[in-house]
């Protein structure tokens, strides 16, 4: 027995590097493909050339026609980049909520983000602010307030809020806000179509200014969440045991929920409510790679980005020139894919 005393510390790297590498390659491929494909098909070479020509400090000239360059740089790329950012954020938000609440059914909309953003957007639209900055700002504020309210209600009983208390409070707050939103919607039947379009989610009017709007939130949120990747693993032991290991469970939970909410709210405010990404992507990663948040969080972000970029590509090409709501595509393609993953890896030691 003691002959093994100097057993080498086991490796954990290879899986993580392989999974991370594959998903990153898939993401870059998806983004190039989505930028190239459309009513006017542009070669991937021209796409890369256009991107390089637009990067600062890089004196690159391309022979691509100005029209194609404009299509790539002004129309498609902002849309693709925005879809990637939103997909990454929804996956990160879902992963974090699942970790903090220790509930595999948690999705990024559960604590009131969706209902709050929906109400915020509806208020903006019915008061005649359907365009410009007011709509996303209002959705963002609605989402953040809703989650804040959920947390307040859950912790108002005194003592630390359990995952269940937060979850139930979230469900109640969401129901209430959705009722108000529905009421407003029925009072303003002429705007129903616009409200509905927003709720279903779309990147059809994406521009670089949208990207600039969400980028800071997504970056800050992602940095905070990624910094907590090990804490998320410790929290899997529950409040008591993680407390005994030197974590302040309530404080860590609050920080993680706040960061996830801020990022998700920003993502939702420019994209509408795109379902399934936040719940399917992290679970697929868990089933395929590892249940450790050190793997699930970063890999889910990359996969979520790739998934939403591809879903948006399908949404705008499958019945062109009209567009499907991207949320419909994520649900229709995501659910069967998820069932497939579930079936093939079902026996893997009770991962779900």
């Amino acid at each position: 027995m003691s002959a093994r005393a100097k057993s080498p510390p086991p490796r954990r790297g290879p899986t993580r590097i392989r999974v991370g590498g594959i998903s990153t390659v898939v993401l870059v491929g998806a983004m190039l493909l989505a930028t190239a494909v459309g009513p006017v098909n542009i070669s991937v070479g021209d796409v890369v050339g256009t991107i390089l020509a637009h990067l600062p400090f890089l004196d690159f000239h391309t022979a691509t026609s100005p029209v194609d360059q404009a299509i790539v740089w002004q129309l498609r790329l902002p849309r693709v980049v925005l879809a990637a950012l939103v997909g990454a954020m929804l996956a990160a938000g879902g992963t974090s909520y699942q970790g903090v609440l220790r509930n595999s059914l948690a999705d990024p909309f559960l604590l009131g983000v969706a209902a709050g953003a929906g109400l915020g957007a509806t208020v903006a639209i019915v008061t005649g602010h359907g365009g410009g900055i007011v709509l996303p700002a209002s959705a963002f504020v609605g989402a953040v307030l809703a989650v804040g309210l959920t947390y307040l209600v859950a912790t108002s009983g005194g003592g630390p809020a359990s995952g269940y208390a937060i979850l139930l409070a979230g469900v109640a707050i969401a129901a209430m806000l959705t009722a108000v939103q529905t009421y407003l919607q029925q009072r303003h039947t002429e705007e129903i179509r616009q409200i509905y379009n927003w709720i279903l989610g779309s990147f059809s009017v994406a521009s670089w200014s949208d990207v600039r709007l969400v980028l800071p939130y997504v970056v800050v949120s992602a940095v905070v969440l990624l910094a907590h990747r090990r804490v998320l693993d410790v929290l899997r032991l529950g409040g008591e045991e993680s407390g005994a290991l030197g974590i302040h469970p309530e404080r860590s939970r609050l920080i993680i929920v706040a960061a996830a909410t801020l990022g998700t709210a920003a993502a939702v405010s420019v994209s509408g409510l795109i379902g399934f990404v936040g719940i399917i992507v992290p679970h697929a990663v868990r089933l395929a790679a590892s249940t450790s948040y050190r793997v699930v969080l970063p890999v889910s972000m990359v996969c979520g980005a790739a998934f939403l970029v591809l879903a948006d590509l399908v949404a705008r090409t499958i019945q062109a020139p009209t567009e499907l709501p991207v949320g419909v595509v994520t649900a229709v393609t995501g659910a069967p894919f998820f069932l497939l993953v579930l079936r093939s890896r079902r026996t893997r030691h009770g991962v779900l």
Binding site: M1, S2, R4, A5, S7, P8, P9, P10, R12, A227, H228, R229, R230, V231, D233, V234, R236, L237, G238, E240, E241, S242, G243, A244, L245, G246, I247, H248, R286, S290, T291, S292, R294, R348, H349, G350, V351, L352
Partner: protein, 261 residues
């Protein structure tokens, strides 16, 4: 050295632990016994600072309530009665969680943390199971893995809440023997809540008998394990016998329905 000074735990209006003052020397094993609801678990949780409590818990020259959670976790390792076993987590990853108090809040394990965890697993005889998932382990193996996580904390005080409740007879003795060896090797102060009074008598240096949160008796097993006191505290007839080797045997007896006399 662990000292408890008038430690009191309240849940609302009810008092679970009532002004318990005790101490344990470095390397000493103190067994906490008592009926269900006597306050054993609450006492351990108070020592680990996991429940709000009054009174003072001191370890060496440190006072637990004045320390950060991280510093506390470097002094006290706590093994709950029913540990949470996350799905899809390997034995090594689980053991590495024990290194948490030695790792910065935003940090990840260093090579050193990994070596220490591998050493602990090796010492406990779990090296062959390093990559196994927790869900594939037997009850006895789970108990050892949880102990490994606690040992990876490298805290001088080890709290065990009913460490053998899920194990069969043979595994119980194995588990307690292991704790005994480890506390001698590492001069660990062990405070454990124990259900099996016979095993408690064999392994603990000292026993503390709780009833309704109060210390009824405290001292060497032979002094604490008194038939009348135990019968009163546990609410049943209890015989305390001595076997040929001088070991104490605590045997519950049927109180009714015995035939003849």
């Amino acid at each position: 050295m662990l000292t408890l000074d008038r430690v009191t735990v309240r849940y609302g209006a009810s008092v679970a632990v009532d002004a318990v003052s005790e101490s344990a020397a470095a390397g000493e094993w103190v067994g906490v016994i008592g009926a269900n609801g006597a306050g054993k678990s609450s006492l351990l949780k108070a020592v680990a600072h996991l429940v709000p409590h009054e009174g003072v818990v001191g370890i060496g020259s440190e006072t637990m309530s004045r320390l950060s959670p991280r510093r506390r976790a470097r002094l006290v390792a706590y093994v709950p009665q029913q540990p949470e076993l996350p799905a899809g987590m390997s034995v090594l990853d689980y053991t590495l969680l024990g290194r948490t108090p030695h790792i910065g809040y935003f940090g990840v394990e260093s090579m050193h943390d990994r070596e220490r965890s591998a050493e602990v697993l090796d010492r406990i005889g779990l090296a062959p199971l390093t990559d196994r998932y927790l869900s594939t382990l037997s009850g006895g193996e789970v108990q050892r893995v949880v102990l490994a996580r606690a040992l990876a904390q490298e805290a001088p005080v080890l709290l065990l809440d009913e460490p053998t409740s899920a194990l069969d007879l043979g595994r119980r003795v194995d588990a307690l023997e292991l704790v005994d060896e480890l506390r001698r090797e590492r001069a660990l102060t062990v405070l454990s809540a124990m259900h099996d009074l016979t095993l408690a008598a064999q392994f603990a240096d000292r026993l503390v008998l709780l009833a309704d949160g109060r210390v009824i008796a405290s001292g060497p097993p032979a002094d604490v394990l008194d038939e009348e006191v135990l019968s009163a505290c546990f609410g049943g007839r209890v015989r305390v016998l001595t076997d040929d080797d001088g070991q104490l045997l605590v045997v519950p007896q049927r109180s009714r329905g015995r035939i003849g006399c």
